[in-house]
């Protein structure tokens, strides 16, 4: 009932008859009502004006209100509730995250994996209407989280990513293939894989280029992100004396990643630090704009009933009062 609109608002002009009607009611009451033809009026000043006399005109007011309500009811008041249904053409995204041991390198703070996880979560948070899956790979690949719209779970699953749960290595092909497998049956218009890695393909049974071919066949765009600074990166080693750091040359097969991206219509990005990575995610976010069609329709419910009831009650009340408290003679 928050929004009242009238189906026939022109009928509200009928409210203009209220003043003349009121005038007529009062005049008629004075003029045409029967009067007791009495002998004199000398007693007039002796009698006091009582509340009944004073309130007598409220009968007309009640009548007028009833008429007003009838007019309002006639104009068909309708309550509208806007129902908008967003017709979202979501994008299906698979985030393929490298969780190999090299991701623990601390050229990003606190390390590559944690930085990636954090930024991936932010990315996920920003894409409310997309289905997103998470695939983790190192020496092998597995699905951390299938395509889902439930971003809460998604973020949780991303947080749970850990290095070292599976065989170490970098199976780019496997990771890509698992991702493709996750997304290929999706009927979303736009299918995207974000492949995040920091190494060279050195494990797995599927060639990354083969995988990219498959991706191309399915019409999946693959954005590839190479993570790692140029040059050396501090890499922690566990020794009996605690964690020690060793600088390791960063090796990213940039050519391969570029090729995969180009072939599938995606883009290759190189993230040399955390801010850059963040910028990359933002860029991908922009590139993969979700098409949102908002269909809003109004639902109207007829609301004349309460008006009619009120009018009826007022009329009855007037009648009742006229016959009881404000009974007049003759």
């Amino acid at each position: 009932m928050e929004n009242i609109v009238f189906a026939y608002p022109k009928l509200l002009w009928l409210l203009l008859i209220l003043p003349p009607l009121g005038y007529w009611l009062f005049a008629r009451d004075k003029k045409t009502r029967p009067y007791l033809h009495y002998s004199d009026s000398s007693y007039r000043n002796v009698l006091k004006k009582t509340w009944r006399q004073r309130l007598y005109p409220t009968l007309h007011v009640l009548r007028l209100l009833a008429v007003a309500l009838l007019v309002v009811a006639l104009a068909r008041p309708q309550s509208t509730s806007k129902q908008s249904s967003k017709n979202i053409e979501g994008v299906d995204i698979v985030m393929a995250m490298d969780i190999s041991g090299s991701m623990l390198a601390e050229d990003f703070s606190p390390n590559r994996l944690e930085a990636s996880k954090q930024l991936a979560r932010e990315f996920v948070r920003g894409r409310e209407s997309d289905r997103i899956a998470v695939v983790a790979f190192s020496g092998e690949a597995f699905t951390q989280c299938p395509l889902t719209i439930d971003h809460g779970i998604l973020e949780n699953r991303i947080r749970q990513l850990k290095s070292g749960v599976i065989t170490d290595g970098t199976a780019l092909g496997d990771g890509l293939a698992v991702s493709i497998n996750r997304i290929r049956q999706s009927d979303a218009k736009s299918k995207v894989i974000i492949l995040l890695t920091d190494g060279v393909n050195n494990a797995g049974s599927i060639d990354p280029l083969t995988a990219s071919d498959i991706a191309k066949t399915y019409g999946i765009r693959v954005y590839t992100i190479g993570v790692g600074t140029r040059g050396l990166a501090p890499y922690p080693y566990k020794t009996p004396f605690g964690i020690q750091y060793q600088n390791v040359q960063v090796e990213i097969d940039e050519n391969l990643l570029k090729q995969i991206a180009d072939e599938t219509g995606g883009t290759y990005f190189r993230a040399t630090n955390k801010n850059r990575l963040k910028a990359i995610f933002e860029e991908i976010d922009k590139l993969e704009k979700t098409k949102i069609e908002v269909l809003s329709y109004e639902q109207r419910a007829e609301e004349f009933k309460p008006f009619l009831w009120a009018a009826l009650v007022l009329l009855l009340l007037e009648l009742l009062l006229r016959l009881s408290v404000f009974k007049t003679l003759p």
Partner: protein
């Protein structure tokens, strides 16, 4: 009113009033209205026991035999009916078989008085008045004249709604130089007639008959009542559902009535109040017995 209907009514009034007038005036009438002194009738021979004062000396001298003048007490008198035909008379609560309007009651009482007077062979005249004198019927004798008056009583349509008793009394004094019995039949809803009453009361024997309706003395609980003043045409609403109002009204009316009584007593005018709802015979008899 059609003539046949009128005649029927006149007949009815005649029958009703013949009996009534006998009842009312039996025995009292003669003494009630004294004749206008002695009028010379004839001369006759003096007889033993006659008052020597009445000997007509001129005739005695002519006939050389004592003659006395014989006087007759003049029984014949004039009855004037001052009939109020103002609009206030149209009111009548008529809750009863008897209850007509005040005007009807007045007409009936006037008719009775006219018949009674005619029976006594008196001259009857009438003045119809409202705020002005509407019609004057000079006093005359005879049945035709009587019927004329009754026809007017029943049929008269006043031109003015108001009441001015003073005007009527003044008019009476102007047209009726000889002493008469004047019956003022009105509801006396007028307050400015005291002076005229005083003056007319000296010249005539005035009898005031006030006709009222019970609803003029007290108001019942009728809720809101739209009132129309017949005389002034004022229209307003009063609340009779309020007990205070009803009491105030009754008190006001009682006071008015008391003032009427006081005024009439002050000038020694015989008066009575007759309700439209009750039989007017009794109050009339009571009043005439007081004369």
């Amino acid at each position: 009113m059609e003539t046949s209907e009128l005649l029927k009514k006149v007949r009815k009034i005649e029958i009703k009033t013949k009996a009534l007038s006998r009842q009312i005036f039996s025995g009292q009438y003669h003494s009630a209205f004294k004749g206008r002194g002695m009028a010379f009738s004839e001369v006759r021979e003096y007889q033993y026991g006659d008052d020597v004062r009445f000997i007509d000396w001129k005739v005695t001298a002519r006939f050389n035999h004592p003659y006395v003048k014989v006087f007759e007490e003049e029984r014949e008198l004039t009855v004037m009916l001052l009939v109020d035909v103002s609009a206030s008379g149209e009111f009548g609560s008529g809750t009863d078989k008897k209850g007509g309007s005040k005007r009807e009651s007045i007409s009936e009482i006037a008719a009775i008085l006219a018949f009674s007077a005619a029976q006594n062979n008196d001259k009857v005249g009438a003045i119809f008045f409202s705020s002005e004198v509407e019609k004057y019927i000079p006093p005359q004798k005879g049945r035709t004249h009587l019927l004329h008056i009754i026809r007017e009583l029943v049929n008269f349509e006043p031109k003015h709604p108001g009441t001015d008793i003073g005007q009527a009394l003044k008019f009476l004094r102007n047209v009726q130089k000889r002493k008469s019995s004047a019956f003022v039949l009105s509801d006396f809803m007028d307050s400015r007639y005291e002076d005229a009453l005083k003056i007319a009361g000296k010249a005539h024997e005035i009898v005031a008959l006030q006709v009222y309706d019970p609803l003029e003395r007290e108001l019942p609980d009728w809720g809101l009542v739209r009132m129309h003043d017949n005389e002034t045409g004022e229209e307003f609403m009063i609340d009779t559902a309020s007990k205070a109002n009803r009491e105030a009204f009754a008190k006001f009316r009682a006071e008015e009535h008391k003032n009427f009584d006081t005024l009439m007593n002050k000038y020694g005018i015989v008066h009575t109040s007759i309700s439209t709802q009750e039989d007017y015979v009794k109050p009339l008899i009571t009043m005439f017995s007081k004369l």
